[in-house]
Symmetry: C2
Subunit: 247 residues, 2 copies
């Protein structure tokens, strides 16, 4: 499996992806799931992928190839909406190509497409396996793909459109931590991007390895804080755990 | 959907179930998912169910009916293992009965079977739709069925076999809160049971309604505590959110 989360807040985008892939528990590998396309100064596009690795790798490669040999591609269409449409179209083509002899294999995937093209604000889309897509707005400022449920409660409690970028990054690391702890199919290293709106270029991917000191500190502070918070919660005001009297 | 969680700690059992069922978002209802069978002083058996409501209602009813008309039933088999086996057998029978004309319907269910029979410690089983089952031990002192992922991280962080019963109850309420917030298909009221080992009878189901003051206090204290904990987390030690310099 996979866990990718993308937050679109007022001042930019915060993207976090794990890198574990598995075809059964005895076939685990590490693959990058966060990719960047850019024309520095004019546009930057981030792609985060979950689902069938053969599908998502093909989609990414075809999107890159069309930049060289197609008339219309991710680096020349006028809006992020058009980019999302291109990604959806490519997903449909790849799945159609592969599913002829499906033999029960699930070829589906989903992709988070985000970034900014000059003349537009930064935008974030969730492109489904069917090629259709939705866009994040102020009311729902984040999308997740893959093993999304473990890490959702903390996002629901903390994130809104006005969260500052550095706090949004911290929250997405905690969301990732909760997922890593509860699901073995999500694993280190992590890839992070923090994009300030208006940057119009790749701000640089940050890779957090297993032994990363900063991430370790965040995990520890959160884990100990949660335990302390729990220990200091007041007792239940009604005694729901009264021992039954001996007969 | 549903969320049921059962914790087996040293001193007893803590069981929590929501009561929402849905067949599509416009067909939502409330049904009890926590049932008790007992011979006070000799045995008490708790059943928590998730999955197809027609299946689980049939299973519960058949288990109750066999008490009156079968030679071997939940209230006379010698061990909790035998009870789990009976539940598994009943699930298989019901699904076999219904799936003849499945028309794409999912008849599956899963059940948490817990309790105590004189001569044994308290035990907890997770019975699958196929009728097979596993038992909780000291290493994994809890099972969940239904929408389990949202509420798993807090259990993984807090619960172990030595957690006192009242703290285990508090933790399961927080696990339920995280699930209620993130998933509309899980809903109030909640049914709780706190069973002290050796009690050998139904300690009484506690029903928490939507307006329950105690649960509201727990939710509020946790929600505010999490926000405060997050706000007081130290800044990331590496600046991963540096703005890109203007060209």
């Amino acid at each position: 499996m996979t866990y990718c989360v993308a937050l679109k807040v007022e001042n930019g985008l915060v993207l976090t992806s794990d890198s574990r892939t598995n075809a059964g528990v005895d076939h685990i590998a590490s693959f990058r799931k966060l990719h960047v396309l850019e024309v520095p100064g004019e546009r930057v596009i981030f792609l985060q992928s979950a689902g069938n690795l053969a599908t998502t790798q093909s989609v990414i490669t075809l999107l890159q190839t069309t930049i060289r040999n197609a008339e219309r591609h991710a680096l020349n269409v006028p809006t992020m909406f058009d980019v999302a449409e291109l990604v959806g179209k490519t997903i449909r083509e790849v799945i159609k190509r592969d599913q002829g002899q499906s033999q029960g294999v699930d070829f589906s995937c989903s992709m988070l497409v985000s970034g900014q093209i000059k003349g537009e604000p930064h935008r974030l889309f969730n492109v489904y396996s069917q090629g259709n897509f939705i866009e994040a707005g102020e009311d729902t400022p984040y999308f997740q793909v893959g093993e999304s449920k473990y890490g959702k409660p903390i996002l629901d409690r903390i994130i809104n459109f006005n969260t500052p970028l550095d706090r949004a990054m911290l929250c997405s690391l905690i969301s990732m931590d909760s997922t890593l702890r509860s699901n073995l199919s999500v694993g280190m290293p992590l890839d992070l991007v923090c994009y300030h709106t208006g940057g119009m270029k790749n701000p640089g991917l940050i890779r957090l390895q297993e032994d990363d000191k900063m991430f370790h500190q965040v995990r520890l502070a959160w884990s100990e804080g949660i335990k302390e918070l729990f220990d200091n919660l007041p007792l239940l005001t009604r005694d729901v755990c009264q021992p039954v009297e001996e007969a």
